[in-house]
Amino acid sequence: MTEAIDEIRILAPTGVCGSGFLEESFERGLAQKPHFIGCDSGSTDPGPSHLGTGHAAFPRDAVKRDLRLMLIGARRVGVPLLVGSCGTAGGDVHLAWCYDILKEIAVTENLRFKLALIHAEQDKAYLKKRFGEGRIKPLHPAPEFNAAVIDRSECIVGMMGAEPWKRALEANADVILAGRSSDTAIFAAMPEMRGFPSGMAWHAAKILECGAAAVVNRKTPDCMFAWIRKDHFVIQAPDPALRCTPQSIASHSLYENADPFKLIECSGTLDLTNSRYEALDERSVKVSGSTFIPAERYTVKLEGAEKAGYQSIVIGSVRDPFIIRQIDDWTERLTARIHARVKQVYGERLPSDQYLLNIRIYGKNGTMGPLEPVKEIRSHELCLLIEVTAPSQDIASSIAGIIRHQGLHLPIPEWSGLITALACPYNPAHLDRGPVYRFNVNHVVEPDDPYEMFRMEFLEVNGSQFARAAA
């Protein structure tokens, strides 16, 4: 592993393990002799429920299909396979889920390799200790964070940097499955380890972590390939039909980032202010000039989720123009009627601050809520999504029953006699959503070193045998 090389080649099969790639592209990528294969398997983008419930966003069979091809390919050509942010949210349960899939593949395919598992879920006592020391700092904007938040969180993960990956690679792991990781760290670890400039390593990583997302003409999720050298890197998609242009590669740094020129990692900031993009041919781009400014203090970002309650929703639509023209007033009166009826039913057992009613009006501002600049309603029908979040599913479900009945018959002055105001497409009219979660942390930890938050274990895998191994 210490032999000097003048370029490092990286194959990224897809942007997320479970989203798919073409086998033909993957084979073309392998034929270009990558030094390793990397893939992330998670994100916060699917929302807080994955961290809260322990469930992955992509189907198990879809993850298994992608992981199987990657694992077989990596073993065949004898290079490391690095998979980060396992099971979407990268907690221990998510990592175990992904490890279980990997085991099935290893047994079926009779594969031999040294496996590293890197955990990213955080011990609550550890977090309280660091918080007490003033070493958990808010980012902007950040919710309130304290020991009570730590206690009520379902799961808090740390987003690992490149260093735990490097340690697993130094221990000659053939396959590394990791919990929550910076997507870019998966790809920057080996190039930095082998002495390539951090600016090149992290910038190439930023493009690779999204698979073929940075091409001009992506049809489906697919592979990307990079050649990192001492003062530049070259990026190209293995599928000959896919084109990278200087503009498409430069544009990629905009995606899902608040700042397109400065990308913050645990160990520093990737600075793209002076990056240069040149077309090498009609589908490859050469990038140079990107720099990496080491951080004064190593920080690890936290992601956490807590249960917000249990939810039930009623979906109903309105077609009567009399109701539509007074919809704000009508929903205000409906809200008051629901609260009054809940009070009749539950009395002191359920104070009104113990549950939350929310009425979304599609056709008015359902999509943008408070950001909606269009104030007048231009639609001849509206969809109302009336939701309640309560301390138990039973209460939420009961209040949904109240919502349905109060909503159906809430009168308007234009009609005399009993009206039926909501068209309900489903029977029963309400849907129970189960527990719902919220993100509750936007903070960084200042650890003593880059490893203390990321427990690592090694296993020797030999077909159906899984034996603990030394680092």
Binding site: L254, F261, G369, L371, P373, N442
Partner: protein, 102 residues
């Protein structure tokens, strides 16, 4: 005057993590990008007024290499929180589409 949506190849919005929302306004060629950039019609202040925010809440960037203009704002609700209406932040860009470019 031409609407921004007529000149851009893509206007999009997306989460930049669970706490921020980001907008990308991307152009096919440098000439169109320069025309829009020089017009000054797409600015920190223009984005702030379209989303009812003070200008200092808007991060704003010209990305010459990408022929793109970018802005980021705090999310009105944290992604996935009880009052959030757009978990991926993908449908929040429409108010930018009709900015008039001279």
């Amino acid at each position: 005057m031409t609407a921004l949506a007529e000149l851009a190849r893509l206007i999009r919005s997306k989460n930049a993590g669970p706490f921020e929302l980001t907008f990308d306004i991307m152009f096919e060629d440098a000439a169109t990008y320069e025309r829009v950039k020089r017009s000054g019609a797409v600015s920190r202040e223009a984005v702030a007024s379209r989303y009812g925010l003070p200008a200092e809440d808007v991060k704003f960037f010209y990305c010459d290499n990408a022929c793109a203009i970018k802005a980021s704002i705090p999310r009105p609700s944290v992604q996935g929180d009880l009052l959030d209406s757009d978990g991926h932040g993908g449908q929040q860009y429409a108010p930018l589409m009709d900015i008039e470019i001279p």
